[in-house]
């Protein structure tokens, strides 16, 4: 069984990676990397990834500290709101923000009337960085919150009793202990933002702000260069190298982390006192502006016939919403997405459970490489995964078939299940299985009856997560698109590109609301188990 699972992971993860490197290793296209277009796109990608990671870690840390360590009112609700951008696909966020800060948005039209120019237009490099921050700060917030909760409260209390004020104790004891978490969320976010497709193509392209992912898309869509696949593979190999370097860096940094004891007492929340009202109001305003405002913008765009039309009672129409759910494109996309995501979820749940059980329940030298291989795609930009599958597709007869998208989904999202099952499996002691052995079960039987059964709820919720993520996926789908395999994300993207902003908004709104509801349900199920 070990061989079978190992082979599956290798086929999904290592072969595509290897293919890119092989194709790129020819080196024929290395000079193109230094050509104007590619170089400029690479710089744009790098700068926007680094800036957005700095911004996201800053914002996420600020929110995590406020939520975990102060007596801010309504923390639970605030936390849910603040995490919600993670559940909205970035390209949907981009469409929504065009409604808020596009050239014909209500705010900019009003400002133009007053001052003769728009307030701020989301198009361009600054808009890309801003949207990347909005969509990645929740990850930093989650990582930092978890790290904050692991820091025992008595460390801060010991500082207080030594004579440090509450703020000083936070700054000198807690924040330094957060450093590994800050570093790892920075690398995680920077790498994933390095090759995001939806945001730069929707808000960057109108201002000719090209990044590597939009460039690759252009090369693949229109034959502007000779041997597009070779050039694209070279770009992919470079991105892969950057991503692997980040993984290594992260591993080195996290090894420098500190060993912490379990906390003996609950953390002392910092009373904000007189600052409570201003800080609370500012936090709420910020979080609502980043989370609720885009959804309202989507809703208002969905109800209007065209962008820039004033939002009055006569102008409101349900046409967009009706068209969104009845158009052939949208229905085809939705059906394709549903079955692709469903299959991906089933495959990921099964394979993830097998990998998780092998890695935590057996002693073998191949465990660490196996787990690393399964988790690796999480640290690799989706763009690289898509390019990798494009490169090997013709050789395995999957070119121009929807199976290619399915394979890419499984590669990308297997890590979600492996991670989900890792926690319950490693938390149940080996003795649970040993007790089954003593009761008369064979090793395989004990593994299935005890460990798999205990990890099953986690594998199922991991599978649901895979489903919800892939059903709204864009980067992989748009690059691996084949005739007749348009997905939901691609349908929305094409509407947007074709200028049907309000129809795109309507479909986005439906996807967002259904997705939020779905994730809300999925997040609730493990508690009952």
């Amino acid at each position: 069984m070990r061989v079978a699972v190992g082979a599956a992971v290798a086929a999904l993860v290592l072969v595509p990676r290897g293919a890119i490197v092989m194709l790129a290793a020819g080196g024929r296209h290395l000079p193109t990397l230094l050509e104007g277009d590619v170089l400029e796109a690479g710089l744009n990608s790098l700068v926007s990834a680094v800036l957005s990671a700095i911004g996201a870690v800053g914002l996420g840390t600020l929110l995590a500290v406020l939520l975990e360590r102060t007596d801010l009112p309504f923390r639970r609700a605030l936390r849910l709101f603040a995490l919600s951008p993670m559940l909205v696909p970035p390209f949907v966020g981009a469409i929504a923000w065009i409604g808020i800060a596009g050239p014909t948005s209500a705010i900019n039209l009003w400002w133009r009337e007053l001052f003769g120019g728009p307030l701020w237009i989301v198009y361009g490099g600054d808009g890309v960085v801003f949207l990347l921050i909005v969509h990645s700060y929740p990850i930093a917030m989650l990582v930092v919150s978890a790290a904050l909760r692991r820091i025992p409260a008595d460390l801060e209390q010991a500082a207080r009793i030594s004579g440090a004020s509450a703020v000083r104790a936070l700054a000198t004891v807690t924040v330094p202990l957060l450093r590994p978490a800050l570093a790892s969320s920075f690398t995680l976010i920077a790498v994933s933002n390095l090759a995001d497709f939806g945001i730069p193509s929707i808000v960057g392209t109108p201002e000719r702000f090209t990044t590597l992912s939009t460039l690759v898309y252009r090369y693949i869509q229109s034959g502007t260069v000779d041997d597009p696949l070779g050039v694209v593979a070279t770009v992919g190999a470079v991105l892969l190298a950057v991503a692997l370097a980040a993984v290594v860096l992260d591993a080195v940094l996290s090894r420098r982390g500190h060993e912490l004891d379990a906390s003996a007492s609950p953390p002392q929340r910092l009373p904000l006192g007189r600052a409570l009202l201003p800080v609370g109001a500012a936090t709420w305003l910020l979080v609502l502006a980043l989370t609720l405002l885009p959804i309202l913008a989507l809703a208002s765009q969905s109800l209007l016939p065209a962008p820039g039309v004033p939002f009055t009672l006569e102008n409101i129409t349900l046409d967009n919403l009706v068209r969104a759910v009845t158009s052939k494109n949208a229905i085809d996309g939705a059906l394709n997405s549903l079955w692709l995501a469903g299959l991906a979820a089933v495959l990921c749940a099964g394979l993830g459970l097998a990998v998780g059980a092998l890695v935590t329940r057996t002693r073998s030298r191949s465990n660490r490489p196996l787990q690393a291989a399964a988790l690796l795609p999480q640290a690799i930009p989706g763009l690289v995964i898509a390019v990798a599958w494009l490169v090997i597709a013709p050789r395995i007869g999957l070119f121009n078939t929807p199976w290619l998208i399915l394979a890419a989904y499984v590669t990308s999202f297997l890590a979600l299940v492996v991670q989900a099952v890792h926690a319950p499996l490693s938390a149940t002691p080996m003795t649970a299985e040993e007790a089954a052995r003593v009761s008369g079960a064979s090793p395989l039987r004990a593994l299935i009856d005890i460990s798999w059964r205990m990890a099953l709820p986690a594998a199922l919720s991991g599978g649901v997560l895979v489903f919800l993520t892939s059903v709204r996926e864009l980067t992989l789908s748009v690059l691996l698109l084949s005739p007749g395999s348009q997905t939901l994300g691609v349908a929305i993207f094409n509407l947007q590109q074709a200028g049907a902003y309000n129809a795109a908004s309507a479909l986005s709104l439906i996807v967002t609301l259904v997705g939020l509801a779905g994730i809300g349900l999925a997040a609730r199920t493990p508690k009952q188990a």
């Binding site: 025992p152 008595d154 460390l155 209390q157 010991a158 500082a159 207080r160 009793i161 030594s162 004579g163 440090a164 004020s165 509450a166 000083r168 104790a169 000198t172 004891v173 330094p176 202990l177 500190h258 060993e259 912490l260 004891d261 379990a262 906390s263 003996a264 002392q268």
Partner: protein, 357 residues
């Protein structure tokens, strides 16, 4: 060093549960006071109220004669000039030993030379001289607890607070640190408030012991007083494993209800008076004799250095006894006699007397 005075301190949590109820406690200058009680008795709550991590909802806390918590007054922990050792040592993992110990002095803005001298002195004091450059991750549990103690003492605190400071350590080490702690605190003349759930540790270390239950003080006294003259059946049971027998005080002595046990007046101690009462029998005040026709059966018999810990079932009443020399077997028949019993008026009688008074 300084004294700690608590007057009518009560603490009600926002959830409505009562953490502390009307605590009066005076810890003298240089005194070592231990707080004991079952879990949830309020001992840690009391310590944290002195430290300033919790604010009492009524009453006042005064350190060295100045009020630090009371109506309209609250001094945060960092301004109380206290030292504290936590159960999980709370040594900061991102600094070396020297930097950990130095931190309170930095905050007090002492000049560098003096800080170095004081750190070296504090580390010497806890037996870690020359360890300043070590990374805390390389230290054992006991060594980390010594670092925490050095850190608590380095700024010469007015009061040293110990929150289950020895409880996370394993037995032989805990015993050694207990001895060292006593030597250290006595030589320095420190005022110490020590919270522990280990009653033997409390009795062994403290000048006075405070027994808490349900947020209320049950008894304050010297270790001898608490062991020989417990103020209530609870204290007798909690500190000395006494068996509590309900019954009544009559002319001839104490007669148990629904049990043949009778203890003559001559063998009784405690608060007198007729009426419903409870009898507390300490393990060492029970005598067991092997007797084939005895009406009690041994249910367990554990060996102990200072006497065997024996539980007998005497016609439905489970009694805890300590025997020296003789160790009965489980299931052996014995006869039981009570050498001495402590009588306490039962709860109903006590409240009636309070009303009359």
């Amino acid at each position: 060093m300084a004294s700690v005075h608590l007057d009518g301190v009560s603490l009600r949590y926002p959830s409505g549960t009562l953490g502390l109820a009307d605590i009066h406690l005076r810890v003298g200058d240089g005194e070592f006071v231990a707080l004991v009680g079952p879990s949830g008795s309020g001992k840690t709550t009391l310590l944290r109220s002195i430290a300033g991590f919790l604010a009492p909802t009524a009453g006042t806390v005064a350190i060295d004669g100045s009020t630090v918590a009371g109506p309209g007054v609250f001094t945060p922990p960092e301004e109380r000039r206290l030292g504290m050792v936590f159960q999980q040592h709370a040594v900061w993992p991102h600094w070396n030993v020297g930097r950990n110990v130095e931190y309170p002095l930095r905050l007090a803005r002492l000049p560098r030379a003096e800080r170095a001298a004081r750190v070296a002195e504090a580390l010497d004091m806890v037996g870690l001289g020359g360890w300043a450059k070590r990374d805390p991750a390389t230290l054992s549990g006991g060594q980390r607890q010594r670092v925490a103690l050095a850190r608590a003492l380095v700024a010469r605190p007015r009061v040293l607070l110990l929150d289950e400071a020895l409880s996370a350590l394993d037995e032989p080490l805990r015993d050694r640190l207990r001895l060292e702690l006593q030597t250290l605190t006595r030589t320095l003349g420190l005022t110490v408030v020590h919270v522990t759930h280990d009653r033997d540790e409390a009795l062994a270390l403290a000048d006075r012991v405070v027994v808490l239950d349900g947020g209320r003080v049950q008894q304050i006294g010297s270790p001898e007083q608490l062991v020989t003259e417990p103020a209530s059946p609870f204290v007798a049971r909690f500190l000395s494993d006494a068996t509590i027998v309900p019954g009544a005080c009559e002319a001839g002595g104490f007669r148990a209800s629904a049990h043949p046990l009778v203890v003559p007046t001559a063998a009784l101690a405690g608060q007198g008076g007729r009426g419903d009462a409870e009898l507390a029998v300490l393990p060492q005040d029970l005598e067991l004799r092997a007797d084939e026709h005895g009406d009690a059966v041994v249910t367990s018999s554990l060996f102990g250095r200072e006497g065997n810990d024996v539980i007998v079932d005497w016609q439905g009443l489970s009694l805890r006894a300590r025997t020296t020399g003789y160790r009965p077997r489980v299931d052996e028949r014995v006869t039981v006699s009570v050498r001495r019993g402590l009588v306490f008026p039962s709860e109903g009688v006590r409240s009636a007397r309070r009303v009359l008074a």
